[in-house]
């Protein structure tokens, strides 16, 4: 046996410490050097080699210390949080089904004109000019339903879902602004790349087929969304 295989065998034998701990409670006899936990062949090496024996004592000491950490029981708060998250997840699933059942919205023709106009303006002016179009009523209704259904549910980070939705809406606006800039630089031709853009009061960016979309555009969306919209998870 070489030194590494002896060390591996010693570490594997440390499982005996936790088994003893489980059987004996917190009082473990720390006075023994636990050689009985080791296979005979390893024990023989340790008897002959003090450095190895010392290494074993150190390993044993570590595991005995860690084994004194008792299992921390789940606090009662967890029950309520899991129930809330389960029910929120169920509602979210229903909303998702509802969204998936909606017919696809085509971008209105005047959008093309708006995009071209905005693309030729400086960024800040473009940002100020984005309130021209209203979202279709169906989208407004959908978001209203979603917000009212999920106001009380909280995610692990403690933020209300409404805050997270607002953040997502801000992200979409930012993405659309970036898109306007990019389209301005690229001068259109987007339809052939599988891209549809709808600029409403909510900014909807839909890529029907990421494989057909421009890689520079996907990179932009991915960067702005922290990877959420970069096409790795299929069509967004």
């Amino acid at each position: 046996m070489n030194r590494q295989s002896i060390r591996d065998a010693m570490i594997e034998s440390l499982a005996g410490v936790t088994e003893c701990h489980a059987a004996e409670g917190v009082h473990i006899d720390h006075d023994t050097d636990g050689l009985e936990l080791l296979p005979q062949t390893v024990r023989e090496h340790l008897v002959e080699n003090e450095a190895l024996h010392q290494e074993w004592r150190q390993l044993l000491r570590q595991v005995r210390a860690i084994s004194t950490l008792q299992r921390v029981p789940a606090p009662s708060d967890l029950d309520g949080r899991v129930v809330a998250s389960l029910q929120a997840g169920y509602r979210q699933g229903r909303v998702t089904e509802h969204v998936q059942a909606l017919p696809s919205e085509r971008a209105p023709h005047e959008l093309d004109l708006l995009v071209r106009r905005l693309a030729s303006q400086p960024f800040m002016e473009a940002a100020a000019d984005l309130g021209d179009l209203k979202a279709p009523a169906s989208l407004d209704r959908l978001v209203a339903v979603r917000l009212s259904a999920e106001t009380s549910a909280r995610k692990p980070n403690g933020l209300p879902r409404t805050s997270r939705l607002l953040a997502a809406a801000a992200l979409l606006v930012a993405t659309s602004l970036g898109l306007v800039r990019l389209l301005g630089d690229r001068d259109a031709g987007i339809a052939n790349e599988g891209l549809e853009v709808a600029l409403f009061s909510f900014r909807v960016v839909r890529i029907e087929d990421p494989t057909l979309a421009d890689s520079e555009l996907l990179g932009l969306l991915g960067g702005m969304s922290g990877g959420m919209l970069d096409g790795r998870e299929g069509s967004q």
């Binding site: 029981p73 606090p75 967890l78 029910q87 169920y90």
Partner: protein, 191 residues
């Protein structure tokens, strides 16, 4: 398991059974991996959220408990990764579980006296801090092996890795523990 159809009716049946069976194990792994009660609560909630969403897709190609551990470990590591990007946490988050709001049942406290109990509380908090200073993967493997008493095979399943990787990672974890834990044990005169 018909878990997907009835959550709106409450938290009964298969969901409740699953939750009751795993909640302490999940919370403990999350607590030991994140190092504090607040993050452990978040990670546990996330774990059960994922578990209930995906349980119908579980194919029993591995042990169910390994799958649960895997979700819990990943949720804890992801949470720590995200919180690492936020401003530094308060030192209070590194206190012992009891100070953090979690409770620990020290069965022999009444016989060892308040000073000894306080000293043990302190020691356990320092041991936990030493574990928390390990890298997330080393922390996870240490917790699964020595707190949850999983075999190498179970750990490999839970972490989605090979037996060889489990062995080498555990060996590296011990080397790191030697640096982090030895000064603590020396200070408390523990052999």
């Amino acid at each position: 398991m018909a878990c997907q159809e009835s959550p709106a009716r409450g938290f009964d049946g298969a969901f409740r059974d699953l939750y009751e069976q795993y909640k302490d194990r999940v919370y403990n792994v999350c607590y030991r991996t994140t190092g504090n009660a607040a993050d452990a609560l978040d990670a546990s909630q996330e774990t059960f959220g994922i578990l209930f969403r995906k349980v119908s897709a579980f194919r029993f190609e591995s042990k169910f408990s390994s799958w649960v551990y895997r979700i819990a470990v990943n949720a804890s590591i992801d949470l720590k990764r995200r919180s690492a990007a936020r401003p530094a946490a308060s030192l209070d988050r590194l206190r012992s579980p009891s100070e953090n709001g979690a409770t620990i049942d020290f069965k022999d406290e009444h016989v060892e006296g308040p000073e000894a109990a306080a000293s043990r509380h302190e020691l356990q908090a320092e041991i936990q801090e030493a574990i928390t200073r390990l890298s997330p993967k080393m922390r996870a493997i240490t917790v699964l092996r020595y707190n949850e008493s999983l075999s190498y095979e179970e750990i490999a399943e839970a972490l989605g890795t090979s037996l060889g990787t489990v062995k080498s990672r555990l060996s590296r974890a011990h080397a790191a523990l030697d640096r982090e834990l030895t000064p603590v044990l020396d200070r408390h005169n523990l052999r």
